[in-house]
């Protein structure tokens, strides 16, 4: 099987990750399209025989980071999470909507780690390579993302912020 074919076969996974990462379907598909187009222009950097999936997710990560950065520059009011405002309207079930919102409220770098581990079931090593960060950073972001998500889904602030004053 050649790469072009495998690329096509990976589209559903790219869409799933993108959907969770950016929140709505149309933006997710825009991200996937930009990723595929970027992949074509960067293909000479891909080494045959290595993991095409990891390579593609790296491309998608870079495209996403650039888009978020551009959105921030174009939006003088946007502070830390410019993509937040577009999210959360299209989900079907209540749980999915809550989960979607909670994921949207995670800091972007923690969200990426959580989704690569949970949705893509990448090994921690693969996540580190895909995002270009040390494995220790992967683990700490994963830990923080999960704790925040748990707290949000319980309807309370993250444990770290609950410094109860007695």
């Amino acid at each position: 099987m050649d790469e072009a074919q495998r690329l096509v076969e990976l589209i559903p996974r790219l869409r799933r990750y993108a959907r969770a990462l950016v929140g709505d379907r149309a933006s997710a598909d825009d991200l996937v399209q930009d990723t595929l187009e970027r992949a074509w222009t960067k293909l000479h950097l891909y080494r045959r025989g290595t993991d095409l999936r990891a390579w593609l997710f790296t491309v998608m990560h870079n495209v996403h980071v650039n888009r978020v950065r551009a959105a921030r520059l174009n939006d003088p009011l946007g502070d830390e999470m410019p993509e937040l405002a577009q999210r959360g309207t299209q989900a079907d079930a209540l749980l999915v909507r809550d989960l979607d919102r909670a994921i949207a409220r995670l800091p972007a770098d923690q969200r990426a780690v959580l989704l690569l581990v949970t949705l893509e079931e990448m090994s921690y090593d693969e996540v580190a390579r895909t995002l270009g960060i040390p494995i220790g950073t992967v683990m700490s972001r994963l830990s923080r993302a999960r704790e925040k998500l748990r707290a949000m889904m319980l309807g309370q602030a993250p444990a770290a912020k609950l410094k109860v004053v007695k």
Binding site: A4, V8, L119
Partner: protein
């Protein structure tokens, strides 16, 4: 209880079901002694399942055409290295020549013989242009063979026009059954995945010439004309009528006189 300390990393790995068997018992024992921590890790596991449950439906959804096209563009993967300078469609080609008959006909209004030409070309376009894996039988990387083969089967000299200057690159071609014999189909694709097909058949009466005619069949626009021994139909569902006309002009100029 004497045990190696359990790290947060190990707890995360445990939540993901990735802990090495050697440490599994120790971590489980550690958690058994700490109900709050056990509850926290159990919650992580539930959340992971919920996250998968929330988005896994994306895996079975049909992939939108624009993404399939984006993934399949410039089909032979290797050709990527040779990145061409693409010129925006239509910029490089001049205004249409005056010989274009401005009447826009529907397929039904056109003469019966060329009706079939336009209709067949539209159907061939509709059938083959959405193909991701097998859009053509012979790819553009073997163009010489493609052209020789099709010329032989049609019994007439067939050429694939060069449309790279307007951003359409040859994907390849295939042989099709026509109303009275073999027919050739060339497929082109733009950088952003828009496709164009050129349908060629031989004409029984070798002395006829027609103006350009335009027809729409469902969503497929077709410019078609007969030039002595060959009938041509240029079809696309992705291009506007004006874009298609410019391309028809270009094809006509390249192919006239065989």
């Amino acid at each position: 209880m004497s045990e190696l300390p359990v790290s947060e990393t190990e707890l995360q790995a445990y939540a993901d079901g990735r802990l090495t068997p050697a440490r599994l018992a120790a971590v489980e024992a550690w958690l058994a002694a700490r109900p709050e921590e056990a509850e926290r890790i159990a919650a992580y596991r539930r959340l992971a399942q919920e996250v998968r449950g929330a988005y896994d439906s994306m895996l079975s959804e049909p992939v939108p055409a624009r993404l399939r096209h984006a993934a399949a563009r410039r089909l032979p993967w290797r050709r990527l290295a040779a990145v061409l300078a693409w010129v925006a469609l239509g910029v490089a080609v001049g205004a249409p020549a005056g010989w274009y008959a401005k009447r826009e006909r529907t397929v039904a209004q056109a003469a019966p013989d060329s009706t079939m030409l336009a209709r067949r070309a539209a159907v061939a376009h509709a059938v083959y242009s959405p193909e991701v894996r097998h859009p053509v039988e012979v790819g553009a990387d073997d163009e010489q063979h493609l052209v020789t083969w099709l010329s032989k089967r049609l019994g007439a000299k067939v050429r694939a026009p060069k449309l790279d200057e307007v951003g359409m690159s040859l994907v390849g071609g295939r042989l099709l059954p026509g109303d009275s014999g073999p027919v050739a189909l060339f497929m082109y694709q733009s950088q952003n995945g828009r496709r164009l097909t050129l349908y060629l058949r031989t004409e029984a009466s070798r002395n006829r010439e027609t103006a350009f005619r335009y027809a729409r069949e469902n969503n497929v626009g077709v410019f078609y004309w007969i030039d002595r021994e060959m009938g041509y139909a240029l079809a696309s569902a992705d291009l506007s009528k004006d874009e298609l006309l410019r391309l028809a002009n270009l094809v006509y100029k390249q192919l006239e006189g065989g």
